[in-house]
């Protein structure tokens, strides 16, 4: 694995940063700013959905408001990964973390379990899914255990979520999936990492892995396009993606190579082009510690936020210019969701909720801790305190 940067190239930036640090401003992460009254009203209506784990190690679906006040909770059989809402129904889909054995369909207002789905024999879920634009089909990324090949399963809500179509993801380890604006093309992040439930979460093919970004016809499963990174970056796992109104895909990756390698972790792709790695100062990618946990566009589709919990970093990118525009220190930050054109809501493994403002280039705490018992005025007891899991969804 080749080094991607010449480290000396960064020294001017570093010298500047040193001065910034000595002035005591460079680590500014919690500068105060106020949301407009209209924005506040809008924000207060929001509901947040995320998987979470308490200090006892129990796993939950948590439905919360923006203040971190729990509105509902549901105990889950095991750790979950992505939670997403049906576009028109009060239905949440909670996908188990890989190797996932369940999907919980939950009422988004009451937190009541509607139905539990299980993978077909010989398959497991990969933690992500989506509803088709018309809301009828549930689409999930799955693993065919025997062949270790990725599969996309399509379940019909109108037939009790029976599988009505299933096709290859054209890669190993499909993770996050997205739909293009026409709703007909499925974009699949094939992480490239082979796992087998018999070996838990162990990664079995790190030396040969070849992740890919794949576009499939949602109806037929036909492969429309498949893109890979250069061979030298074959251990950059394409795992988390988002897509904007221009059908640009932002890619947040995790690196499975040697811990001392220095590699980029962010990229963009548009149909018919090569995947373009995003440039950033070497310090930034180093600080992200080979791992992005989640990524999303803001409502404008111009900016994207990526979280790097291993590096305690939230990075903000101007995708139109393919540039990093900000970076803040945010302990164990992972879940991220767009909050209109104002910025992003971010959740952390420390149980906190943050708001990042694109306009102010600053982050502030929305809620310090989220408790299962909804104790507002006093700190929650230890076992009740939540660690927000990888992904966050928001709805009004």
């Amino acid at each position: 694995m080749a080094f991607v940067w010449v480290l000396t190239a960064e020294m001017e930036t570093n010298l500047f940063s040193r001065r910034e640090f000595l002035k005591g401003i460079a680590y500014s992460a919690l500068a105060p700013y106020s949301l407009s009254a209209a924005m506040k009203e809008e924000v207060n209506k929001l509901q947040l959905y995320s998987a979470a784990t308490d200090f006892n190690g129990d796993h939950w679906l948590v439905i919360s408001n923006i203040k971190g006040e729990k509105l509902n909770k549901l105990r889950l059989p095991s750790r979950a990964h992505q939670v997403f809402k049906h576009s028109s129904l009060e239905m949440l889909c909670v996908v188990a973390r890989r190797p996932g054995k369940y999907i919980s369909l939950v009422h988004s207002k009451t937190g009541t379990l509607i139905k539990t789905l299980f993978p077909s024999a010989g398959y497991h879920f990969y933690g992500h899914g989506l509803f088709s634009n018309d809301g009828r089909y549930l689409v999930t990324s799955e693993n065919h255990i025997e062949s270790a090949e990725g599969r996309i399963a399509v379940r019909d809500r109108l037939s009790g979520f029976e599988i009505v179509n299933q096709f290859p993801s054209h890669g190993i380890g499909p993770h996050e999936i997205k739909l293009t604006t026409d709703g007909q093309t499925l974009v699949v992040a094939n992480g490239g990492i082979k796992t087998h439930p018999g070996n838990g979460r162990a990664k079995l093919n790190l030396s040969t892995m070849r992740p890919s970004l794949v576009y499939l016809n949602l109806s037929t499963g036909k492969l429309l396009e498949k893109k890979r990174l250069p061979t030298s970056l074959h251990q950059l796992s394409i795992r988390h993606i988002d897509i904007n109104h221009l059908d640009q895909v932002v890619i947040a990756m995790q690196y499975q190579g040697d811990r001392t390698d220095q590699v980029p972790l962010m990229a963009v792709h548009s149909r018919g082009e090569d995947i373009r790695l995003l440039n950033a100062p070497v310090n930034t990618y180093l600080a992200m510690k080979h791992y992005c946990g989640s990524v999303c566009f803001d409502a404008s589709g111009k900016f994207a936020a990526a979280t790097s919990p291993k590096g305690d970093r939230l990075t903000i990118w101007d995708i139109s210019k393919e540039q990093l525009i900000d970076e803040v220190r945010c302990r164990d930050a992972c879940g991220v969701a767009a909050l209109d054109n104002q910025g992003f809501v971010v959740t952390s493994g420390t149980g906190k909720l943050y708001h990042y403002s694109i306009k102010h280039k600053a982050v502030q705490t929305l809620a310090s801790f989220v408790s299962l018992n909804q104790v507002i005025n006093e700190p929650p007891n230890l076992p009740e305190r939540m660690a927000w899991d990888n992904h966050l969804s928001i709805s009004t």
């Binding site: 990964h81 525009i325 803040v328 007891n381 660690a387």
Partner: protein, 389 residues
């Protein structure tokens, strides 16, 4: 826009061990009756300030002092090369090697601190570029020496050199190479380079000490200040505690398991941290000593250890947790003691290899006990950061 570009990582600290949740899951109801971290924030503030004052800053001070000595000694050594006889040169070379050892000793004590000023300008890498899988140090050092450019050794010029040639491993290569005196004689500019590196190390470590004293300490005293480094005292405590716990994984994975390989005939002594100066075992011993000091709350440089449980992290843990952690420290230290130095030779023998393997397991146990106790004290070192998907 002001980008926060002062970030560096200790690359070695990209951990992936996933038992944080296991630890949390094993807590009993009785145990969880303890205060949550934020209910005990003032105690954590005290812990933070004491740790920075008694552990971090003195250790950086020692690094600054030893590196200053190293700079003085290398100047003297290079001067001797010009005019002295062979015996004097040999003696000066030994003095320079001793000074290198002192600097490396001091660095091993504070190597675990991977946040704050050390993040700026890739200084962690600059002080020690390791592991160097692609022989960057060798290539860049050779380039610098054969280039013979004095401008590359000025204060500003040196900043622009590759980070791989700025630190202790580059000095180690120069001083501990075969026929060092002959090499210095044949390539006189290499001694200029040696002095340039030493000066950089001296300046850098003096800056680190100063920045911790003047910039970081106030951040711990008032962790909630606006535009501050930390969000609150718990955030500050978490940053410190991670440097107590996570380096144990690094030590195990990079300093032991990587050189050991999967079996005896796969072990590679050149993957050890300081194989050229044959001090890899000493590095491990100093790492563990330093972490134990941190845990015990004993001031760096203090003549004796405090025996009561009224200092450092021990204030915030239960008696049984303290005993368990101390016991695990003892097991690790005993196993380190059992290994016949140098480690570079020991891992090539059956008994040395086995003890090193056993040490690796004991480090895991030490890590678990520390992480478990800290989790129990109300601070989760990481959730998504430990076990992401």
């Amino acid at each position: 826009m002001h980008l926060v570009y002062i970030l560096l990582i200790y690359l070695l600290s990209i951990g992936s061990v996933a038992y944080a949740n296991e630890v949390a899951a094993k807590l009993t109801n009785n145990q969880t009756k303890r205060l949550t971290a934020d209910q005990n924030e003032s105690a954590w503030r005290k812990f933070n300030i004491t740790t920075v004052k008694d552990y971090v800053i003195p250790a950086y001070k020692k690094l600054a002092m030893t590196n200053n000595d190293l700079y003085l000694v290398t100047q003297s050594f290079c001067h001797t090369l010009i005019s002295s006889n062979k015996d004097q040169k040999k003696a000066e070379l030994q003095i320079a090697k001793d000074a290198f050892h002192n600097s490396m000793d001091a660095w091993q004590y504070i190597q675990n601190i991977n946040f704050g000023p050390i993040e700026i300008g890739l200084r962690h890498h600059s002080i020690q570029f390791w592991p160097d899988k692609k022989n960057h140090i060798g290539k860049q050092l050779n380039k610098l020496i054969t280039g013979g450019d004095v401008n590359a050794l000025t204060v500003d010029g040196f900043e622009r050199n590759s980070i791989s040639v700025k630190g202790l491993p580059a000095i180690e290569r120069l001083l501990f190479q075969k026929g060092a005196l002959e090499q210095f004689k044949n390539k006189p500019f290499s001694c200029e380079v040696l002095q340039g590196i030493s000066r950089y190390l001296s300046d850098t470590s003096a800056s680190l000490h100063d920045e911790w004293l003047t910039t970081m300490l106030p951040q711990f005293k008032d962790a909630k200040q606006l535009d501050g480094y930390f969000e609150d005292d718990i955030d500050a405590a978490t940053a410190l505690l991670k440097t107590l716990v996570e380096p144990i994984e690094i030590i195990r994975d990079l300093k032991l398991d990587r050189p050991l390989g999967s079996q005896l005939d796969k072990s590679k002594y050149k993957r050890l941290e300081s194989w050229r100066s044959q001090r890899s075992l000493l590095n491990l011993q100093l790492n563990i000593q330093s972490l134990e000091l941190f845990f015990m709350g004993t001031e760096v440089g203090a003549s004796s250890k405090t025996t009561g449980n009224d200092k450092g992290l021990r204030l915030l843990l239960t008696e049984s947790e303290i005993v368990d952690i101390q016991n695990n420290f003892k097991i690790v230290k005993d196993e380190l003691h059992e290994i016949q130095a140098p480690l570079e030779e020991a891992i090539l023998t059956v008994s040395g290899y086995q003890t090193a393997k056993s040490l690796s397991i004991s480090l895991t146990q030490l890590h678990k006990s520390l992480e478990g106790a800290i989790t129990h004290s109300g601070i989760r070192l990481g959730f998504n950061s430990r076990d992401g998907d």
